[in-house]
Symmetry: C2
Subunit: 252 residues, 2 copies
Amino acid sequence: MTNRKVVSFENIKVACKDCSLATLCLPMGLEPDDVERLDGIVKRSRPFHRGDHVFRESDKFHSLRVITSGSIKTYTPNENGSEQVLGFHLPGEVIGLDAIQNYHHTCSAVALETTAVCDIPFEQLESLSSSIPSLQHQIYRLLSREIGHETEMLTLLGKKSAEERLATFLLSFSERFKKRGFSATDFFLSMSRHEIGNYLGLAVETVSRLFTRFQDEELLHVERKHVQLLDIDRLYEMVHGNNSEKTQQSRI
Amino acid sequence: MTNRKVVSFENIKVACKDCSLATLCLPMGLEPDDVERLDGIVKRSRPFHRGDHVFRESDKFHSLRVITSGSIKTYTPNENGSEQVLGFHLPGEVIGLDAIQNYHHTCSAVALETTAVCDIPFEQLESLSSSIPSLQHQIYRLLSREIGHETEMLTLLGKKSAEERLATFLLSFSERFKKRGFSATDFFLSMSRHEIGNYLGLAVETVSRLFTRFQDEELLHVERKHVQLLDIDRLYEMVHGNNSEKTQQSRI
DNA sequence: TAAATCACTTGATCCAGCTCAATAACTTCT
DNA sequence: AGAAGTTATTGAGCTGGATCAAGTGATTTA
């Protein structure tokens, strides 16, 4: 299956400074010289195919990974043999942050489609960050941002209805695609309904029914993995509550 | 309300090296000299009383806070004026990590009882960590650990039943109290049933009924905030599924 | 091109946990 | 100590979303 063309990919070495993701990735806000030094430790790995694991839970941790193309699902196997999907990750996003803690991965990461990643050996990153304050700052922020994301997910899972969850999910992808220069209203989701449901704490059937309903209500058009958002504003209203209530929000 | 005795507290300056929390807090694993330097930037603030805010969402961020005694609830106000409880924090735990991202707090923190905290001005910590690699490492780990915690909460809220949630909650406190030298089976919860429910994504009534049921099943004895765990093993079974299934756990 | 498998949709039913409501116990204030 | 306000418990009934079941398209295999 591994043909010559794939091998040729390995030689395509794009420097961080030339990478289109620079503003989304670790180099963000670094001086050109420092980007150069960061670039020195980054390794571009071969592409992963759909279903390939980038790492598995309990693997020894050595590198953070930055997605450069494609998409990745992270998940934890749980007691009863099923899994909890933790996130879907797009180019420019860093995975493996949970593993810094004790140098073992606490979740698994699998490619949802053909996906390329950069490897950033963490020990090297760490010592580099000691001598580049802005890099250190960048890493602190990155970790803090991840905490913020997860906090939002806690609210989603703790309080929101099924329709609010799916609307939030779709808008998140819309925004993230937009930030990457793709359409905010017309995109392909690389994960299955089952994975969406798992991530959102909903049954597959519920997700499916919601897609159908959203389509009936002309909020979107959906055909399998292809989604076209037709009324982003109403999706936002769904997520943030009727803005009438929002404005008269009480203090606590 | 602020009497003289409280003022006298302000003068009790316990150095990090003498603090009983040292092994739970940032100094963990640092050389004595480095603890000394860390100690130089730490400020002990006056005690907060029940209901006092340590910080509020959207406040400008300047310091991480380490709880030295008492307990704190963090929460985010959400759209419809209600709140999502994000966590309950005990001595040795650090709060404010989410605010590093953009120097604004994204959640509020309120004292659940009389509570003392240390302030660690973040900019000073950051520059100190540039020159103390082990401190830098400690901070990375701390942030990573926080990500790990939240990941566990995602699984809790995404997949677990009400009884599993409450059992998990109780065991978490049991372990944390134990780690701090208190009883693992006999403790006081400083938060209300309402706050527990909010945190666990359950209605107050459900929490109350579960406490009653757990008591009927002789898993624990509860009277208001005072909890005595009578059968920790069965609580663990509840959380981790019947251990028969657990052992034959499949790969994915 | 047919058969098998997998992913998704749709319908019917069920139930865990929510909401509403009343009461009880504790706390705070005067 | 009694009144007023909070917080917790308990009961009854409801419902959003789960589960179970069947069918329909896709996609892969042969």
